[in-house]
């Protein structure tokens, strides 16, 4: 089911991106749809609060007593007395928790039957917590708490589609390179170079966003993790492509050699992006030692739920559409420059 939702997002993005044609100016309505898709991706990535179920929260806080996290559940009782100020909540799995609070204002903000997301710290025993603040009362949507990823999981809807776009762009660069070698039409060479340039831009963006995420999840910006190493090698390979293009003055030789290089370079892309990081142990989610098979496709509890998978899929669709818009503009400019020179 999760894979199906993911593939639907990619197909939607490809259909939208390829219509009405790669080089034809995009109609106004097309642009509006793309803008709406990206805006929805941004809103759905930021607005819903993240909340853990009670068992997960207890497990995490028992292991890390100084940690703070959000829990979600329905309020069954609020007691405000001289000795005790307590909120009782029940989560979707029927687990009950007791939360103590100091601030007397809080009982005015919430009432029985409210569905709440609360920031808590560890209480004096299992399934007992201290309330830090109310995050949300009766939110429309909540996102699941994925251990190790927590709030930083919001990067998923941007970082992964960016890496996907670099793969798609390099694939297009290879297709146009093959077309150039077949037809000797310089337009195909211009399109291949434009696609590789945008692919490299997105690969750099994916690396940069990943580095910022790594600083807060792994402790430093760069760890030579297999996933980081593989994207670094990929950037070097495509850096050499642009070095090759700028080193040759003869247009025919430049186009021919860079086309052959682009085809060979793409052979490494599936290996470096999809295969190698899954074969070896790594810090990155989805690696060989990740027992959840990665949060994206895993069916285990506490990984991505269907709603999060839909927003993730929407991220793929919107980034694919944005890529084709960028590619359209970039290629049309490159073709004008090519014809003038």
């Amino acid at each position: 089911m999760k894979a199906l939702i993911l593939i639907s997002g990619i197909i939607l993005g490809l259909i939208l991106g390829l219509s009405p044609g790669i080089l034809k100016p995009k109609p106004f309505i097309w642009k509006i749809i793309t803008v709406i898709l990206v805006t929805f991706t941004i809103l759905l990535s930021f607005i819903p609060p993240i909340g853990a179920d009670i068992e997960t929260a207890s497990f995490i806080l028992d292991a890390k007593p100084n940690h703070q996290l959000n829990i979600k559940g329905t309020i069954t009782n609020i007691i405000v007395g001289q000795d005790g100020k307590l909120i009782f909540i029940t989560d979707n799995y029927g687990k009950k928790a007791e939360i103590t609070f100091e601030n007397t204002q809080i009982d005015r903000l919430i009432k029985n039957e409210d569905f709440v997301v609360l920031a808590v710290s560890k209480g004096f025993s299992h399934n007992k917590f201290n309330l830090l603040r109310i995050v949300s009362v009766n939110p429309w949507l909540t996102l699941p708490y994925v251990p190790k990823l927590e709030e930083q999981i919001r990067i998923l809807n941007f970082h992964v589609p960016m890496a996907w776009i670099s793969v798609l762009a390099y694939l297009l660069a290879m297709i146009f390179s093959i077309k150039y070698l077949k037809t000797k039409d310089f337009n195909n060479d211009v399109l291949a170079a434009s696609s590789a340039a945008i692919g490299t831009l997105f690969a750099i963006l994916a690396t940069t966003t990943g580095m910022i995420w790594a600083k807060f999840n792994w402790g430093s910006f760069w760890n030579w993790d297999p996933r980081e190493t593989s994207i670094f090698i990929l950037l070097l390979i495509y850096g050499a492509y642009f070095a090759l293009r700028s080193a040759i003055d003869n247009p025919e030789l430049k186009a021919r050699l860079s086309s052959v290089y682009s085809i060979i370079a793409f052979i490494t892309v599936p290996f470096l992006v999809f295969i190698l990081p899954r074969l070896v142990d790594s810090l990155h989610p989805g690696s060989a030692n990740d027992d959840t098979a990665g949060p994206i496709l895993s069916t285990k509890e506490g990984t991505l739920n269907i709603f999060q998978q839909i927003t993730f899929s929407l991220g793929f669709a919107s980034f694919t559409a944005i890529f084709f818009w960028m590619f359209n503009i970039w290629s049309r400019i490159a073709l004008i420059i090519h014809k003038k020179v």
Binding site: P25, K31, I42, F46, W325, I333
Partner: protein, 51 residues
């Protein structure tokens, strides 16, 4: 409002992201329109030369 944003700094980030996104949209629309005009101009010049 001030207190809400202090407790929910994620919404400040959301506001900044939306502002950047608005700037990118305006840039995309402007470049696309200018490019379209340039293509029309170049096509007209080319057809004039052929005549």
């Amino acid at each position: 409002m001030q207190e809400f944003l202090e407790n929910n700094s994620l919404y400040v980030v959301l506001g900044i992201v939306l502002m950047i996104w608005t700037g990118i949209i305006v840039f995309f629309f402007t470049v696309d329109r200018r490019l379209k005009n340039l293509e029309i101009k170049l096509n007209t010049e080319n057809s004039d030369k052929l005549d």
